[in-house]
């Protein structure tokens, strides 16, 4: 075939009885299909370009301007087999799907040959129906793939930007905590220590705790503070009681010292520890 003219012309008649080029449907093929003259290297690329049997069939149909809804099965089958034989001839990796399709085509062809019962003619399913459905289904996604390929895309039709930010300020964010989480953590501890088992009545525990902290914060470890100055009359009786209880608690816990030089003399209070710079 190397001496063939380079355009699509009638191929010269075979000069001798050569080995069949391929066996198609049991018949020897000794020439390339008339409408297919392709240099071997290009032919290989060409054949590999089919995305499967449906793609090949679509090609055969479209090339001859046939309507997908009225496929001349016998002719298309013949052409299909030529290509399949070509592919195996060129030792292309021939997916099994091509042979499955060949069988399907042969089956459709044989069903088309059978006479249809007259009475059900109108309702009789066209043996090609399933093939046509599949071809159309594939065709629309093949087209969709081509359409997607033409969409403007990054790196080809458009480019994205990243400018520099010279003075990035990185501030490490602080974790957020819900009060609920703190309280749940506490209940966990309490469960572990079985503190819930105790039952004592105490009305203002936290205000005493808080006041202990406040009193402690006002005391100086280096000098004495007047006991009475720790109380604020404006707070009323409740406030005075809370402060008093806080002071007693602080004494009990060895956090403060109290000194009274003589009976009924002024009382002085001092923190026992070295107070941190924050206090």
């Amino acid at each position: 075939m190397s001496d063939q003219p380079s355009h699509m012309v009638e191929p010269p008649p075979p000069r001798q009885e050569e080995m069949p080029f391929a066996m198609v449907l049991g018949l020897p093929v000794t020439e390339l299909p008339r409408d297919l003259y392709i240099p071997p290297q290009a032919l290989e690329v060409f054949l590999e370009a089919f995305e499967g049997p449906l793609d090949l069939l679509l090609y055969l149909i479209k090339r001859q301007n046939l309507d997908i809804l009225n496929i001349p099965i016998a002719e298309v089958t013949r052409q299909y087999m030529v290509y399949v034989e070509l592919m195996s001839e060129m030792q292309l990796e021939l997916a099994g799907e091509y042979l499955v399709m060949a069988a399907m085509l042969a089956e459709i062809k044989s069903r088309m040959l059978l006479p249809r019962p007259v009475e059900v003619e109108g309702d009789e399913d066209d043996p090609r129906a399933e093939l046509v459905r599949r071809l159309q289904e594939y065709e629309r996604y093949k087209q969709a793939a081509e359409d997607i390929d033409t969409l403007p895309r990054v790196g080809r039709d458009t480019f994205t930007f990243v400018i520099d930010t010279p003075d990035k300020q990185s501030e490490r964010p602080q974790p957020h905590v819900e009060l609920r989480d703190v309280l749940l953590a506490l209940t966990e501890v309490l469960h572990r220590t079985e503190m819930f088992a105790h039952h004592q009545v105490q009305r203002e525990p936290l205000s005493i705790r808080e006041r202990m902290t406040q009193v402690l914060a006002r005391l100086n470890p280096d000098s004495f503070t007047s006991f009475t100055s720790l109380f604020s009359v404006e707070e009323g009786r409740r406030g005075v009681v809370v402060t008093f209880m806080a002071i007693l608690e602080l004494m009990k816990q060895s956090m403060i010292e109290m000194i009274q030089a003589e009976p009924f003399g002024p009382i002085h209070v001092k923190a026992v520890g070295a107070v941190s710079e924050e206090a």
Partner: protein, 217 residues
């Protein structure tokens, strides 16, 4: 601090969109501001629209895509901008594009369903490439034997192809009924656009001049 001046807001949004390196949506833009400084949504939208208007007649545009707003080069200048880089933009095989199209249009879809429609096996490397590029992801498994993975497209897919929603994908061709064949003998395929010789397949370029190209019309 009281509400920010419109110009300052616009400046911040412009710089952030250019510096981010990925599309930013409005919610993300709001996170640039401390609670008490946070602009009204209306002010933010106004700023973005003003920035979009500023791009009129320039080589860049501010587009809204699936995952947010992105500054990008207009296609009118891409011919020159692309010369910044040695390599050309990658071409994708038909097998990959067809698989991608099936995921995009028919999601969620299993690999078996893709193979069924395409009529050939889908290679693992194609699914891997699509997953790695972040265009496709597994969103679940079908409750049938083997529990095959269900694939869907991602926002990155839309971003990459310059789309805001799946609705913006080209319309899918219609299926014609075999019964109606006799009524309409239109030889054209529904949804079949005019395909340029060059675009129809890379293959056309690689075979010699006397070869019939692979496009059908």
């Amino acid at each position: 601090m009281s509400e920010m001046a419109a110009q300052q807001l616009k400046n911040i949004v412009e710089a952030a969109l250019l510096a981010a390196g990925e599309p930013l949506n409005i919610e993300r833009l709001f996170t640039l501001f401390e609670e008490e400084q946070r602009p009204e949504k209306k002010a933010m939208v106004t700023a973005i629209e003003a920035l979009q208007a500023d791009c009129e007649g320039r080589g860049i545009e501010l587009r809204e895509l699936a995952s947010g707003y992105r500054y990008q080069a207009r296609s009118e200048v891409s011919r020159w901008v692309s010369r910044l880089w040695e390599e050309r933009a990658p071409r994708y095989s038909r097998a990959l594009l067809e698989t991608l199209a099936l995921v995009a249009y028919r999601q969620p879809i299993t690999r078996a369903e893709i193979e069924d429609i395409r009529g050939v096996a889908v290679s693992s490397s194609i699914m891997k490439t699509l997953l790695e590029r972040g265009w496709v992801r597994i969103i679940g498994h079908r409750d049938v034997p083997g529990r095959p993975a269900l694939y869907a497209s991602t926002r990155e897919f839309l971003d990459y192809f310059n789309l805001k929603t799946l609705d913006e994908l080209p319309t899918l061709g219609e299926l014609k009924d075999l019964d109606k064949f006799n009524a309409e003998l239109d030889l054209r395929f529904p949804g079949e656009g005019v395909v340029e010789g060059e675009e129809a397949g890379g293959i056309a370029l690689t075979i010699s001049a006397d070869v019939e190209p692979l496009h059908y019309d």
